[in-house]
């Protein structure tokens, strides 16, 4: 396997009965890359991501994540990835600190590590006064940022973000993306799904899914050039115009 590839996917397919949610997709994600996975609702993004996280077994095809096979080595994959779901994934009735302690605990981190890293994370987020507050008392944007920090707290090789900025205001989204950049700089590979096309511009490379197929995959500037468009939004509209399953966002 290639040392520089965080994820390799070859003809990965998932069928639910007669319905083919993901149809023989192939791509590679380089280590340290911010890889955007775009598509309308129902295009198969989430299904593809779940297969890579070991939440769902592929129907056919092969894939490796952090060098481990998605069929037989899901336990190893789970140890090396972080995950943030599109549903908000912190416990509302726990404090910020308790949430961090809990998630760090299930990844088996030592108390020493948790203690040091917690104060570091809290300082980065400027949440010194909110550490012992219940998560439900915080605004959504803060919660999302904490959720992201928690998902990379155990220092995984790859983090999967499933529409992480849903329902968040534009300013918070910018701040969120600067956190993503920071994480990428520290060497974490970012795999992010989104249907906000402006966010696609932030990615190193994007892959656009339409009806379970990969329609295009390249850097945002290259894609704009190829489809003669001024923005990623336009690229997407041109590609998704003939989509059968769902409306473009």
């Amino acid at each position: 396997m290639n040392e520089n590839k965080a994820i390799t996917v070859d003809k990965l397919t998932k069928k639910f009965g007669d319905f083919t949610a993901v149809d023989a997709i192939s791509f590679d994600v380089n280590a340290g890359e911010i890889f955007g996975f775009l598509g309308a609702n129902g295009a198969g993004k989430t299904t593809a991501m779940r297969m890579l996280c070991g939440l769902s077994l592929p129907t056919s095809g092969t894939a490796t994540v952090a060098g481990f096979d998605v069929y037989h080595q899901t336990e190893n994959i789970k140890k090396n990835i972080g995950y943030m779901s599109q549903k908000f994934s912190l416990y509302e009735d726990l404090t910020v600190k308790e949430n961090i302690n809990f998630y760090a605990g299930i990844y088996g981190k030592s108390n020493q590590f948790i203690k040091e890293k917690t104060s570091q994370v809290i300082a980065n987020l400027h949440l010194e006064n909110e550490v012992d507050k219940l998560v439900k008392s915080l605004p959504l944007g803060w919660k999302q940022k904490i959720a992201f920090s928690v998902s990379i707290f155990h220092e995984p090789e790859i983090v999967f973000l499933d529409e992480p900025t849903g329902g968040v205001d534009p300013i918070t989204r910018r701040e969120f993306w600067s956190m993503i950049y920071k994480a990428a700089e520290s060497g974490i590979t970012i795999f992010v799904t989104t249907h906000y096309m402006d966010e696609a511009e932030y990615c190193n490379r994007v892959c656009i899914m339409v009806d379970g197929h990969i329609k295009a995959m390249d850097t945002p500037p290259q894609l704009k050039k190829r489809y003669n468009a001024t923005s990623m939004d336009e690229v997407f509209l041109k590609l998704a115009r003939n989509a059968e399953r769902a409306q473009a966002p």
Binding site: F16, T47, R50, C53, G54, L55, S56, L57, E75, K78, K79, I81, Y83, M84, S85, Q86, K87, F88, S89, L90, Y91, E92, D93, L94, E98, N101, F102, Y103, A104, G105, I106, Y107, G108, L134, S151, F160
Partner: protein, 368 residues
């Protein structure tokens, strides 16, 4: 281990922070014991009755006095005409009327035979039945006394002894029933709810992506409720012994062991529900209809199983609460040891293992 402890700690945070639910969980058994113990009772005390006496002689006066003297009856009114009986039932809160015909004492003296009519309000059949039984017993008592005076050559006296529960207290049968109910509710329903809640909020997904093993997640969720159930059992037992005066005649250890067994069975059932559903409403509904109702109806604590039609009697065998109820009643009230109830314990153990295995098997490791 560290992972497991983090989980248990988190579950305790959830429970301790939700003060209202915790109050309900710990208060429910206390409330139920008190309600069942003092409000809902089959015993009939101080029922208001009326007397219609056409005879007014020594015998009728004696019987009337004896009835009035008993703690079961209170003579509210004397009716003078047969026609007024129905009016008395309708207007007053009279439950029964005792009618003595004319020449009662004379008939008794000359023909050795006299009749008394008991008219009861059977709109509540159980009460009517109990009242007429009590009244009959008092009248029989009187008859025995006068026959004793005459010294008849032959007579048969029935002597009744109520074993294990001489005062016929209702508490003897419902304490085990309440234990079954509370354990079923706390363990099965709460375990199901706590897992389904994580599915609803989306945190379950994150847990499944983490290296935590599903079995560990589930066991960690069950631990706090196991503890809570044990607290509930102890509070029920304390209340029943010290407040209701129900004795623990058998081994306390055996009683606790069996409760633990039943708790595990309930937890397994809760898990089974949680893997079958994705919403808290559905989970509550299934727990109530599928677990709680059978526990109340078919365990034998509300309605005797022997009186049920055959299909229901057969179904009652698959209700774990029936076995638990039988065991607890034997151990607590009759003081039975393990040697006589090992069959029931074996059945309950079998059920526990079966449901536990099934629930672990069905608990989804992968989401799709």
């Amino acid at each position: 281990m560290k992972q497991f402890l983090s989980f248990v700690k988190k579950e305790f945070h959830h429970i301790l922070r939700d003060k209202r639910t915790m109050f309900i969980l710990l208060g429910m058994p206390v409330a139920q014991i008190i309600i069942f113990g003092f409000a809902l009772t089959n015993e009939v005390k101080n029922s208001k009755i009326a007397v219609l006496d056409y005879s007014h002689d020594v015998a009728t006066t004696a019987i009337t006095q004896q009835i009035n003297a008993s703690k079961y009856f209170e003579i509210k009114k004397n009716i003078i005409n047969y026609k007024n009986i129905e009016a008395a039932f309708k207007t007053g809160n009279i439950k029964m009327v005792v009618v003595f015909p004319e020449n009662f004492y004379e008939d008794l003296q000359h023909f050795n035979k006299a009749q008394i009519q008991l008219i009861a309000d059977a709109s509540d059949p159980n009460v009517a039945n109990t009242l007429t039984n009590y009244a009959t017993a008092i009248i029989m008592d009187y008859q025995n006394r006068i026959t004793d005076e005459r010294k008849l050559p032959y007579s048969i006296h029935t002597e009744v002894r109520m074993l294990y529960n001489p005062q016929l207290k209702g508490a003897y049968s419902f304490v085990p029933g309440v234990m079954a109910m509370v354990l079923m509710l706390v363990c099965a329903m709460m375990t199901a709810l706590t897992i389904v809640r994580e599915k609803e909020t989306g945190t379950m997904e994150v847990l499944l992506v983490s290296p935590a093993q599903p079995l560990k997640i589930v066991v960690a969720k069950a631990v706090p409720y196991l503890l809570l159930s044990m607290i509930n059992i102890i509070s029920i037992l304390l209340l029943s012994v010290f407040v209701l005066g129900v004795p623990i005649n058998g081994s306390l250890l055996l009683l606790l062991a069996v409760s633990f067994l039943f708790t595990l069975t309930s937890l397994a059932l809760g898990l089974l529900i949680s893997s079958a559903t994705n919403s808290q409403q559905t989970a509550i509904f299934i727990a109530l209809v599928g677990l709680f109702l059978p526990t109340v109806m078919l365990s034998g604590f509300m309605f005797p199983i022997e009186n049920m039609p055959l299909p229901l009697r057969i179904i009652s065998n698959i209700v774990p609460a029936k076995w638990f109820y039988t065991i607890v009643k034997s151990v607590m009230i009759k003081g039975t040891g393990i040697l006589l109830i090992w069959k029931e314990v074996l059945v309950l153990t079998g059920m526990m293992l079966f449901f536990l295995a099934l629930s672990i098997k069905t608990f989804k490791i992968r989401l799709a």
